[in-house]
Symmetry: none
């Protein structure tokens, strides 16, 4: 009878984890955790001051952006899309012509994480190029 091969027998679970990493690629920190009370106290006030609203019925933040036209709205969305794909953290967003409504929340932790904070700041930084000429 073959001796047990623990590493091989464990392999499926390990594999499972690696496969998940493989599919999640880009960023690594597999499971984002929700912002704790301290992080919320630090990170959220600057965002709400910048126009982000905490959504009432779920743990998410939302902001409306108004650009000059579709060209500017779409170029801005493209910048956000590239950054979102790189971070493997994608927005919920609605667009019509020059208007974009963006919501950030993290599926993994069913609420706000640092990735949402990071992407909300990025949205504002890029929008500032268009909005303050």
């Amino acid at each position: 009878m073959l001796a047990p091969r623990p590493s091989l027998l464990l392999a499926p679970r390990v594999l499972g984890r690696w496969v998940k990493q493989l599919h999640g690629t880009a960023v690594v920190a597999k499971k984002m955790t929700a912002l704790d009370a301290g992080a919320r106290a630090t990170e959220l006030p600057p965002l709400t001051a910048a126009g982000w609203a905490v959504v009432s019925d779920r743990d998410a933040i939302k902001k409306n952006f108004n650009f000059a036209n579709f060209n500017e709205a779409w170029s801005w969305m493209t910048a956000v899309a590239l950054a979102a794909e790189k971070l493997d953290h994608h927005p919920e967003w609605f667009n019509v012509y020059n208007k974009v409504e963006v919501t950030w929340s993290t599926h993994d932790c069913n609420g706000l994480s640092l990735k949402d904070v990071k992407m909300a700041k990025f949205c504002d930084e890029v929008a500032a190029k268009y909005l303050k000429k």
Copy 2:
């Protein structure tokens, strides 16, 4: 007596040419008109057969597209964005990761016009490249 003003006297013809050029371009028909009953009977059934739903509370059509991932969703949206900008007729759309919900309606006529039909067909044509591999 006023001196002849050749440029002004020629103007009507020149104007005519410019107006024709203007009408030859994408943007022209300033005011789109709503589809009449005949056009609706011809144009809408193929669209509803293709998965477009007539919105209940306004004269608009809507469809959900599910792609393999964000990369495909965004590439498809980019194709639609370019066509929309060229036709000067833009969608209302919501995206999260691989999903896009698109609504077409025409502000000018407060309802469906031929531009909506055209863009809905374009959405389907490009999506077919991604969805039927």
Copy 3:
């Protein structure tokens, strides 16, 4: 004495408005004509002052743009791509990471036309948002 012809006398202003509309719209004249000597004297010096170089072996203008990173380069290219598709006048461009080399020339007239001037100015206007923060 000729009676006043209000419509003709108003024509220049009307024409001006139409021409402005014309320039704002999609496609315009099927066949673009090359810039004449007067237009070159007016239009090219501001462009060369802004960093556009007249290409030596053909009638074209070229400029290198350096952005902070690929995200900015690609967002800028997206703005230019949308405008190019709308005007039906596309660039020759080379990109690697944060750098873009753009050349404008008009196939129809085998040289520079007003569309090249227009698109070169647009390139600079959008780039200014990224480069002068």
Copy 4:
């Protein structure tokens, strides 16, 4: 006696491949290494068969893509741009209207790496959606 478990016994080799794939992804291996002789013999023939040419004066591969129009070329470029940003490995590419010439090479190792192979394959996979309708 337990029956052999081929899948588990093969696992180490499979794992090796997956780990390599894992290391080929975004954040991980900072410095890419050049393809060794064995990898070149395995990876390059399928690419040259698919139309990629080895550049003569440097260690790089290049291919021309011809799309139906600018809309398709740009949508394809957008798919490649998103993947490139995610993998942090960007193309050298030239576009005019429906044509795109793409070159892949890796700065880190001054030659071809697995990232180039991966991105060249991705270019072909996405192009196939547009070119084989």
